[in-house]
Symmetry: C2
Subunit: 231 residues, 2 copies
C-alpha cells in the first residue's frame, strides 16, 4: 500500500471521522454513544466514529454519513461539520486527526435496539475516551448558538409538528423559555413551515393547534435569520 | 513504519498544514505565496505548507509554526486555525486533509529575499494549485469579519503605531472607511494599546499624534468587543 503522507520517515497520521448525534429525550438534549468494541478504550461509551476509507469515501462528509449508517442505522440526516481535532496526544495509537460532524435527529429515528447504543444527557456525561468530552461540549455550544437564529432544532422533530411543540423543542435546546409572540414571528420570518391542510391537533384543555411540516427546501438546508430569538 | 490509520487495506490519508499569511502592502491585503519546488504543481505559487511531522510536531499549531519558520523565516506570529479542508479530490497524490491556519504580519517582518516568495493582492490572485484559491478567499472573509470586533489588524502593524495609522490599517482590512469617533471609542474599549511616554509623531501639516504600542497581554491574544465597528 502506498504511504504518501510523509516527506521523511514519519509514521502516518490516523484520520477518523466522529459524529455528535444529538436527540431530545424528555425535555433535554442527549448524545448518542456506542460502547467501543475494540481497543483502545474497549467497552467505554464513545462517539460513533471510524476511519476514513480513502477508496470509498469521496469526502469527510461521505465518511461521516457512512459511519453513522453503519453504526447507528441513521440514514442521511442533516449533518454539519463542527471542527477538526488533532495532535499527538489525543489518541494512544498515534498522531491523529478527527473530522467531527454533528447531527440532530428525532428520538423516534433511533433504533435503541442497536447493540451497545446508549443515550446520555449532555448535561451529565459519563466518562468519555479521547477528547470526546470536549467535542460533545463544543457541539452542544454550537447547536445552542446556531439555534438562536436558524431552523436547526426542527431536525429534532418528526415530520409533523405544531407550533407549541416546536417552541418546547427550541426551549429545550436553548435551555431557557422563549417569548411566544417573538417565537412565532421568527418562525414566520424563517418561512420553513407549511400547514398541513385540514390537520389539527389538540387535547381537551387547549384550542386545537394547526399541524405543520417542514418545506422540502429546508429538509437539507437550514433557514437562517439575521437576528436571533433573543433580540 | 507503522501504518495505523486504516482498519482495512486503505491507503493512508495525507495530512498537511497550510498557512494563509497575510500582510498589508500599500493599502491592500496581500497573501504570501511560495513557488512550489516539487510535484505536484511544481513551479506554481502556493500557500506555504508541508506535511505534519508526527514525531516532531505535538499539535497542528506546532506543525504550522514550524512550516512557517522553515519556509518563510517568520517566527511565532499570532496564528489561528481557519478550518480543515479534506477529501479525495483536492490533492492528486491521494485522500488528504489540510489543517489550515492564518496569520497576519507586518510587511517589514517578511524577508522578500526568500527564494520563490511572492506577494499577491488577495483581490487579484494568480492561478493557485489544490483548493488554495478557496482557502485564501475564506481566510480573507474570516479576517474581515473578525476585524470588525477585535484587535486582529494590529498584528499587521509594527511595534509602534499612531491612531491615524491604525485606523488606515483597519480600513484597508475592512475595505471601507470607518468613522473616526467610533473607531477611537472601539480602540479605547478594547484597551489593548498603551501610549509610549513622550513619543509623538507628526508631519508639518498635522498635529503630532501620540505613539502607542500593543500591551504585552495582547501580543499573543486578541482583544475582543461584543459590538463591531459598524454598530
Amino acid at each position: 500500500m502506498p504511504k504518501p503522507n510523509t516527506d521523511a520517515d514519519y509514521p502516518s497520521v490516523i484520520c477518523t471521522v466522529d459524529v455528535v448525534l444529538l436527540t431530545l429525550k424528555g425535555q433535554s438534549l442527549h448524545v448518542v454513544l456506542l460502547r467501543r468494541k475494540s481497543e483502545p478504550f474497549m467497552g467505554l461509551p464513545a462517539l460513533p466514529g471510524g476511519f476514513v476509507h480513502t477508496q470509498e469515501d469521496a469526502t469527510a462528509w461521505d465518511a461521516a454519513t457512512r459511519v453513522l449508517r453503519e453504526k447507528t442505522g441513521i440514514v442521511s440526516p442533516y449533518l454539519e461539520q463542527l471542527a477538526s481535532y488533532s495532535g499527538a496526544e489525543r489518541d494512544p495509537r498515534g498522531w491523529s486527526v478527527s473530522l467531527v460532524y454533528y447531527a440532530l435527529v428525532p428520538l423516534e429515528a433511533l433504533s435503541l435496539q442497536t447493540e451497545g447504543l446508549l443515550l446520555a444527557p449532555v448535561a451529565k456525561l459519563p466518562k468519555l475516551p479521547f477528547d470526546h468530552r470536549r467535542i460533545v461540549d463544543e457541539a452542544v455550544a454550537r447547536v445552542r448558538s446556531k439555534s438562536q437564529y436558524s431552523s436547526l432544532p426542527v431536525y429534532l422533530c418528526q415530520d409533523r409538528i405544531t407550533l407549541p411543540r416546536l417552541q418546547a423543542v427550541y426551549e429545550a435546546v436553548l435551555g431557557e423559555p422563549i417569548n411566544k409572540v417573538s417565537f412565532r414571528r421568527k418562525m414566520d420570518e424563517m418561512g420553513m413551515l407549511e400547514p398541513v391542510e385540514g390537520e389539527l391537533e389538540g387535547g381537551a384543555a387547549h384550542r386545537p393547534a394547526q399541524v405543520y411540516r417542514l418545506k422540502k427546501a429546508y429538509r437539507k438546508e437550514l433557514s437562517v435569520v439575521t437576528r436571533g430569538l433573543n433580540s
